[in-house]
Amino acid sequence: MSRLQTRFAQLKEQNRAALVTFVTAGDPGYDASLAILKGLPAAGADVIELGMPFTDPMADGPAIQLANIRALEAKQNLAKTLQMVREFRKDNNDTPLVLMGYFNPIHKYGVPQFITDAKAAGVDGLIVVDMPPEHNGELCDPAQAAGIDFIRLTTPTTDDVRLPTVLNGSSGFVYYVSVAGVTGAGAATLEHVEEAVNRLRRHTDLPISIGFGIRTPEQAAAIARLADGVVVGSALIDHIASAGSDQQAIDGVLSHCAALSEGVRNARR
């Protein structure tokens, strides 16, 4: 079983949802970002999404745009992001780690080389925002052949006709983007999320994680009652943006993560 399968199976046994955290690699700098990454599992993150910085993050709102800019100004690149994953794996072999970003840096790195290096570094899955199933042959298929899960975003605009196309070739989990919009935007209603989860369950047995607009432990708990995973990104990254020092950034992200985790763990009790 892959790390993602194992983790979601364990949590299902414990009758709780996964806390899935997103941070951008190299934000606010390599060392602080690595410290955050290494600290997330102990702070309660069950699955980690690590953003691969890109100059043109078209699907992201202001918080993650700025995170990308900070990381790139600190000279983060894809090779360093893979290096971070290798360092993370030195003392963590259980927490699934998913790289998330846009296709061009991977395209430039070279898809076969990227897949080889990502697998060797200990990457479990990929979320590539601008890589729809229409282009499966370019990245999704070779990644899965190498044992790396390819996680799809489904959205409020993905209707029942299109869902099978999107889910075909999805693995690891399904990421439901609960609002049509960019990251960090307003939250969806619980009614909408519940309906969406039910609809997705009719089409797939994969775990379903919900993201976009979830910021507080209370919101995370509410979603954790409905879905298999709760994704939080911008709210964590805001702690980096407002920090006066690297240590403040690290502490801010990890303490918010701990609070979210508390919410998720107690949600179904």
């Binding site: 043109d56 061009n104 601008d130 605009t157 049509a180």
Partner: protein, 408 residues
């Protein structure tokens, strides 16, 4: 004259690919919209009522056909090829951009969309979009980089007069690429109500093909007009390229005529060797941005490098995918000219023909000044004069003052 028939005009394939270029690299939220847009466009394209309406607005609102003008003084000055200018700058709103805007707004209306968004660089596409939105009574939001707002204030004012909301984009270098990112973010947020009116032959399928089809009226008219005036095909075509819509509009109807030499002119900015340019084909490598695979200015990590050109309309780090393919197969020759060469051509065109060209179009003219003198007098050369230069007064004035100071 016999023509060799090839089949270079059939692209893209069902997935929006021109060879290895094009495609639909967008977030899932947008995929259903893009698929719907493709279906709607395919239906509209063969609907006689849609085409009649399009023809009506092209004639009575845009002012088509635009003249194909024999530029006698330019021809004399160069002393070689016989030079014709396709006068797209005489269109309503002063550039070729309106050809595409009229087509897309009719499609938006057919699809029941109430809100139009667009990105703009030089502001010509923004003005053309605001114009057609006003004409059809639709809400209009234009995204424009802060750098471009600074250097194209007249166009910003025009858009506002026409009732559009102009939203400044501070991200990146505040130019066209950043405006396009922001427009995509708006679209992903307002999927139900909004039609994204892309201004060039780039973006996800079906935009590159659709914008090309709406602009191809330029080449079709040129073909008929030159036939009437000279009784034959041109020997060469020259057009400037940012995203590449005016060039594709002129080139496309001639792609299968192998006797016609086709030249696209990129903006070399301070010079390609300086790294400060906007020449995606001559100075970039293939990658994926804004929904399509094409040539891009990027670094070793695949990060997009900001383009530079004196002309805001060419200041984009990518190029339409059909151009990438035509470059790849060698059908079109892509050259580049610098800011200084374009400015020199700008002044010459003003003095020789009494036409103030857009700085974008001045890039095409600069290539003509290099090329025409070496060609025989019976060589027929057509240049797409894609826009007028009124919007560029501030930039040209600023540049003239600077070069005055450097002389002292």
């Amino acid at each position: 004259m016999t023509q060799s028939q090839t089949d270079l005009r059939n692209g893209p394939d069902v997935n929006g690919l021109f060879g290895a270029f094009g495609g639909r690299y967008v977030a899932e939220t947008l995929m259903p919209l893009i698929l719907e847009l493709a279906r709607e466009y395919e239906a509209a394209k063969i609907d006689p009522a849609f085409n009649e309406e399009l023809a009506y607005f092209q004639r009575d609102y845009v002012g088509r056909p635009s003249p194909l003008y024999f530029a006698e003084r330019l021809t004399e000055f160069c002393g070689g090829a016989k030079i014709y200018l396709k006068r797209e700058e005489l269109n309503h709103t002063g550039a070729h951009k309106i050809n595409n805007c009229i087509g897309q707004i009719l499609l938006a209306r057919r699809m029941g969309k109430k809100r139009i968004i667009a990105e703009t660089g030089a502001g010509m596409h923004g003005v053309a979009t605001a114009t057609v939105a006003a004409r059809f009574g639709l809400q209009c939001v234009i995204y424009m980089g802060t750098t471009d707002i600074e250097r194209q204030q007249a166009n910003v004012f025009r858009m506002k007069l026409l009732g559009a909301e102009v939203i400044p984009v501070v991200a990146g270098t505040g130019t066209l690429k950043d405006a396009m990112n922001e427009a995509l973010r708006d679209w992903v947020t307002n999927v139900d109500s909004t039609f994204y009116l892309i201004g060039t032959v780039a973006g996800p399928h079906p935009y590159p093909a659709m914008v090309r089809d709406f602009q191809a009226v330029i080449g079709k008219e040129t073909r008929d007009q030159l036939q009437a005036q000279e009784g034959r095909l041109p020997d060469s075509l020259v057009a400037c390229i940012g995203g590449g819509s005016n060039a594709m509009g002129l080139f496309h109807p001639f792609l299968d005529d192998t006797s016609v030499e086709i030249i696209g002119v990129e903006a070399a900015g301070h010079g390609i060797e300086t790294g400060k340019h906007a020449a995606s084909l001559n100075g970039g490598v293939p990658g994926v941005l804004h929904g399509n695979r094409t040539f891009l200015l990027q670094d070793d990590d695949g990060q997009i490098i900001d383009a530079h050109s004196i002309s805001a309309g060419l200041d984009y780090p990518g190029i339409g995918p059909e151009h990438a393919w035509l470059h790849d197969i060698g059908r079109v020759q892509y050259t580049s000219v610098t800011d200084d060469e374009a400015l020199d051509a700008f002044h010459k065109c003003c003095r020789l023909e009494g036409i103030i060209p857009a700085l974008e179009s001045a890039h095409a003219l600069a290539e003509v000044f290099k090329r025409a003198p070496t060609l025989p007098k019976d060589h027929l050369m057509v240049i797409n004069l894609s826009g007028r230069g009124d919007k560029d007064m501030q930039t040209v004035m600023h540049h003239m003052e600077q070069s005055q100071q450097e002389k002292h």
